[in-house]
């Protein structure tokens, strides 16, 4: 600005003199400005904060809205829940931008654990995926016991299929299933939405297409989505959630103790009891099955 302090002061006095009368004339303006400034209350408090990076499905189901306050009350810590796709949730954790992760893509999770980015992976709960599609079922997959056969038929008949296409846990599972079926999904029939489960269900519904969704989101969308379940109960459709702690070596400010406290909380008997009944009041059936203490080997 190239102005001396003294000059600036004179400048200010000048302004004041020039403005003297008008300030009273603009009392109204002044009052409103004061009212607005009064609202500026900074929020700094950060100590005892745990950053949880998780997936949209746990957030959208409303489960975390129930569990997070329980944890906060018990420990006095504050949880910041960042719900993104599983891919992004793990990337953030690997950069040390989170303290604990609750995600659902076992193959990817194991890779992060092997690389030492995440540790102490423990299974928390599961639900399942289902294949839904239009009532008239152009690919004739209804009741197919093996999901790979169903996908093969969808690809063979070039029936429209909506993929999440966002590296989420659901997307990782879907890609695994295509691989299992020996198909590389490509073509005009294969639509990548790049959006969350809810939006993807909406697109599948409007385009009368097949898609893979977790049962919880499908139940939550009963009002808007009229696509029935066509394939379910294949063991490959199991959707397993686990919790992992972030290695403090990933970044300078990882709250390792807080991350561990949250992971332990997810496996505590009273938390698992809440998970067991969650969703019954709203959907008539639980959305998740708690599985603390089990290992991957139990689900093969």
């Amino acid at each position: 600005m190239g102005m001396s302090y003294r000059a600036a002061w004179g400048y200010f006095r000048d302004l004041e003199r020039a403005a003297g009368v008008s300030i009273f004339l603009h009392m109204r303006t002044l009052l409103i400005v004061i009212a607005l400034v009064g609202m500026v209350v900074p929020s700094w408090a950060q100590s005892g904060t745990v950053i949880l990076s998780t997936t949209t499905s746990t957030q959208d189901s409303g489960l975390l809205d129930l569990l997070v306050p329980m944890f906060e009350k018990k420990t006095g810590m504050t949880v910041k829940t960042i719900s993104v796709g599983t891919g992004q949730a793990l990337t953030l954790a690997a950069r040390g931008e989170a303290d604990v992760a609750l995600v659902h893509a076992p193959s990817v999770e194991r890779k992060y654990v092997e690389e030492g980015k995440m540790r102490n992976r423990r299974l928390v709960m599961y639900n399942d995926f289902v294949v839904i599609g239009p009532e008239d079922d152009p690919a004739k997959i209804k009741g197919t016991p093996r999901v790979a056969d169903a996908l093969k038929r969808i690809a063979d008949t070039q029936s429209r299929f909506v993929s999440r296409g966002d590296k989420s846990g659901t997307h990782v599972l879907e890609l695994g299933l295509w691989k299992h079926a020996g198909i590389e999904p490509k073509g005009a029939w294969y639509i990548e939405s790049g959006q969350g489960m809810g939006q993807t269900l909406g697109i599948a519904n409007d385009r009368r297409a097949y898609t893979i969704t977790d049962r919880g989101t499908w139940l939550a969308f009963q009002k808007r989505v009229s696509l029935p379940i066509l394939v379910e109960k294949d063991p490959l459709l199991l959707n397993i959630y686990s919790v992992m702690e972030v290695n403090p070596a990933n970044g300078p400010r990882v709250n390792a103790a807080g991350g561990k406290a949250f992971a332990d909380f997810m496996l505590a008997p009273e938390t698992q009891a809440v998970i067991r009944t969650f969703g019954v009041d709203k959907y008539g059936q639980p959305l998740f099955v708690p599985i603390a203490g089990k290992s991957d080997a139990d689900f093969r």
Partner: protein, 231 residues
Amino acid sequence: MELIWQGFLQALTLLVGGDSQVWQITWLSLRVSATATLLSLVFGIPLGTGVALTRFPGRGFVVSLINTGMGLPPVVVGLFVTIVLWRNGVLGGLELLYTPTAMILAQLVIAAPIVTGLTLAAIQQVPERFRLQLLALGASRAQLVWILLKEARLPMLAAVMAGFGAVISEVGASLMVGGNIKGSTRVLTTATVLETGKGNFDTAIALSLILLLLMFLVNWALTWIQQGRRA
């Protein structure tokens, strides 16, 4: 159509019934965006006035930069502010990410160029001869600036409205730097995105209507100031 009507009824219920969560979200939206707009005035008005009243080499380039800034995409701002505020980022030590302060910061970056650009235009539209006349009448520089700002009052308040309108309605930056955390950084726009994702379209519509109402009330107050006795 029925869905919109349901949303309208729900908006009324939430507001009149005093749903504490909705009030908290509405209040946070107003607090964050009003603060960001006020701060953008602190930077934008002096900068816009300065550039309007001075001639220097490369001025055209600076004005172009400001004008480009008026259309900064919120997601781009959100991404860069997030990276800066990451624990590993330049300002990571402040631990600001996922706080309302971070949202204010991002919205400030969005609003400041708008206020600067419109201030610049507002001051420049005051005829040159008027300025010379004031100087001829013996006005000091400070008096000159003050009178010009008063003269440009109408377009200046339009600048405030445009800045506020841009930040209260943006979702990309707030979602990224705030994280849409319940009870902490959830504002009307990010809550609308969340409720849509959850399939609660009636709640999403209700929140949108509350946002529109809030924007109307704020603009009404600003128009009242702008138009003075003419309103």
